[in-house]
């Protein structure tokens, strides 16, 4: 049964690509492109939810080998719980901000290939969540970045251009380092398939041979690349200005999603490969790379959380507060990574999901606030609660979810991460996390009191009539409301979501299931016969009784069997 599902996981990439292609000839006609785009995001969302539930029930990881070339040679595409959760959330966030964009996009933006570009962006994002291959991860990052360059400069105002220039340059630098690092990884391990890398690292650790020289340096290079995309300290300086200038629905999508792709890359590759746990290997006490990297990540987490929120408190424009907040929130995810136990990773994944939803809805609220006041400067805002009660309610729920008020979603993410940090000797990070939470509340209350609570400023009369704004941004409210409802679900339905997240965390810290799902049996037998015997022992005698292949079909360039008889 799962055999028939396996090949269809690539639909997460095929659907946005098809929708993007279809909307190219429709440029300038908004209605058909909007229908196509909405259908595309809605269908990937439903598909992700369906596969997630199905995969959880069967406890399977879906794998498809592109072009029928099996791992570790071809590109494999893997759908596990982590991918599923992120794919579902990313599609939901894209859908919300896409619906919001009906009411906020100027017509010149729609003519500037907005619809195809946003589909291609989602194609890249979905591919990076699915791929099981480091080089393919690079490719999907590039697809995503190409689309994001174009979306950032859409409309081509002078301010946008100068900000986009910085963004493009930094990302070019990061991509170059990524390719170099991938080349080094291939030189050290002889493969770029993530499962195969995990298997070889595991074998090298267990056999006592130890990791190759420079493995920690390699891990740091990858960390640098992903940290730049994910805006960790000290590589976050590009972020606030970038999200400040582009159209609001794009800013919402980017603020919600793009940094999380960088975090995702760390969550996927580090527990699996670079900082693999040696808990189930009796002969080895410690993975030296793991110790070093976790320290680096812990320090980065402290600075990211705290400096991010300090930056946000000091700002006086809504968009800037929100975008600098992204950094501080990323800090919590990095905190979860620094602990790197299964449950902490579950917290990290949950936090990523809720943050994508909540942050995007806050940005979208900011779009309608700007429509009321003509600006996002807190001095010029005011009286919005009276002018637009619905917006006030939506904003309040989203803001309190971000802060983490108990029944709402942010609370459950922070609670797990902080508690797990406390139990694992990172108490100082937990304290910083709590302080950051308090300051987050402060900065959200700042927007709330200036924008909604205060009376309308007399110095800057708000030109737009409330009725006009409301009637012209109906789809805006629908988009925000969808995301806020999802955020409420994540809060009140945290239990079922955590079940998926917990399974995802387990799959990450003990990668045996991942390795077994992706790699063919012959490959595991060739590299690590003991592990193969252990993995296939419980499955049934028919698979075990098959004779070992006389001449193994799958040979790696660098992994020499004679060295490890």
């Amino acid at each position: 049964m799962s055999g028939s599902i396996n090949n269809f996981i690539i639909l997460f990439c095929v659907i946005p690509l098809a929708a993007g292609l279809l909307s190219v000839p429709l440029v300038g006609r908004s209605f058909p492109s909007r229908v196509i785009g909405t259908l595309s995001f809605a269908s990937t969302f439903l598909l992700a939810v369906y596969l997630l539930i199905q995969g959880y029930a069967d406890n399977t990881i879906y794998v498809s080998y592109m072009g029928s070339w099996t791992a570790p040679f071809g590109i494999s595409v893997v759908f596990d719980n982590l991918s599923g959760l992120l794919l579902a959330t990313a599609s939901a966030v894209a859908l919300g901000s896409y619906i919001h964009s009906y009411s906020t996009n100027a017509s010149h933006i729609e003519r500037g290939y907005f619809h195809p570009l946003i589909q291609l962006l989602m194609f890249g994002v979905n591919l990076s969540f699915l791929t099981g291959d480091i080089f393919n991860l690079f490719v999907s990052f590039e697809i995503m970045l190409m689309a994001s360059y174009a979306l950032l400069t859409i409309g081509a105002s002078k301010k946008q251009m100068s900000q986009a220039y910085k963004y493009v340059m930094l990302n070019l630098l990061a991509s170059t380092i990524f390719v170099i690092a991938a080349g080094m990884a291939y030189g050290m391990l002889g493969t770029l398939n993530m499962a195969d890398m995990a298997l070889i690292v595991k074998t090298k650790l267990a056999s006592g041979e130890g990791l190759p020289v420079g493995f920690t340096a390699l891990a740091v290079m990858f960390l640098l690349v992903f940290a730049l995309k994910g805006a960790f300290f000290p590589l976050w300086f590009w972020l606030p200005d970038t999200y400040y200038t582009c159209p609001i629905s794009i800013a919402g999508l980017f603020g919600g999603m793009l940094t999380k792709v960088g975090v995702y890359a760390v969550v996927r590759t580090f527990p699996l490969i670079f900082t693999q746990s040696v808990a189930d290997i009796a002969s080895v006490d410690v993975n030296p790379t793991r110790t070093t990297i976790l320290w680096i990540i812990a320090v980065a987490a402290a600075f990211t959380m705290f400096l991010g929120v300090l930056g946000a408190v000091s700002q006086h424009e809504v968009r800037r507060i929100l975008s600098i907040h992204v950094i501080s929130q990323v800090g919590y995810m990095v905190f979860g990574l620094a602990i790197m136990t299964g449950w902490a990773l579950a917290g990290c994944i949950f936090y990523m999901i809720q943050h994508m939803v909540v942050k995007c809805s806050l940005f979208l609220c900011c779009g309608i606030m700007e429509k009321h006041a003509g600006s996002d400067d807190l001095d010029k805002l005011g009286g919005l609660l009276k002018r637009d009660t619905l917006l006030g309610v939506l904003f309040f729920v989203a803001a309190m979810s971000l802060v983490g008020l108990p029944p709402l979603s942010g609370f459950f993410g922070k609670m797990v991460i902080i508690q797990e940090g406390w139990n694992n000797g990172l108490w100082w990070l937990s304290i910083i996390g709590l302080a950051t939470g308090a300051l987050t509340l402060l900065s959200m209350l700042k927007i709330w009191s200036y924008g909604y609570w205060n009376p309308e400023p007399k110095k800057y009369p708000q030109a737009a009539k409330p009725e006009n704004v409301k009637s012209s941004s109906r789809s805006g409210y629908i988009g925000i409301a969808m995301l806020v409802v999802l955020a409420l679900f994540l809060g009140f339905g945290a239990n079922p979501v955590y079940k998926f997240a917990d399974r995802a965390g387990e799959q990450l810290v003990s990668p045996d299931a991942y390795i077994m799902a992706v790699l063919p049996k012959e490959r595991i037998k060739l590299v690590n016969p003991e592990l193969a015997a252990k993995l296939y022992d419980g499955i049934g005698h028919d698979r075990m009784s098959e004779p070992l292949d006389e001449e193994p079909m799958i040979i790696s360039a660098s992994y020499n069997k004679e060295v490890h008889p």
Binding site: I10, V14, L21, G67
Partner: protein, 140 residues
């Protein structure tokens, strides 16, 4: 540019380069080459033609907007990639067939070749389109 030597040479160079592009694109399945390289070579020859004879003769040579080439190429590549999904095979799976040409000759045909031709069209469309657009700005 109005050099007579260049114009005369172009009559020979353009068809030869286009032929070479096709050759590169087709041999790319098992050897160095492929749709991307072929597309680049072809667009070099088209760009040279445009430089020599000017924008009007270029419009005659390529009466459609290069954007359409991109669209057609992407669609071809996309359809070939998706086709195996209908038969429950992974994306991009290639089908191969030995076509009999008669006279004892066969051709090894693979469906990946159509994908490669799609890539070729995309590369021609993008590079020719960009060169054309930029030179129109300069010529203004």
């Amino acid at each position: 540019m109005t050099s007579l030597i260049l114009k005369t040479a172009m009559r020979l160079i353009v068809p030869l380069t286009l032929l070479f592009a096709v050759y590169m694109a087709l041999k790319g399945h098992n050897e160095p080459g492929g749709g991307f390289i072929g597309g680049l070579i072809a667009s070099v020859s088209i760009a040279l033609y445009r430089m020599t004879y000017g924008a009007e003769s270029f419009d005659k040579l390529l009466p459609i907007h290069p954007r359409i080439l991109v669209f057609v190429g992407l669609t071809m590549a996309f359809l070939v990639a998706v086709f195996p999904l209908l038969f429950d095979r992974p994306l991009l799976t290639s089908y191969e067939q030995y076509l009999n040409l008669g006279f004892g000759q066969t051709v090894h045909f693979v469906s990946a070749a159509i994908f490669d031709i799609g890539v070729l069209l995309v590369v021609i469309g993008v590079s020719v389109g960009m060169i054309d657009r930029l030179s129109r700005e300069v010529e203004k």
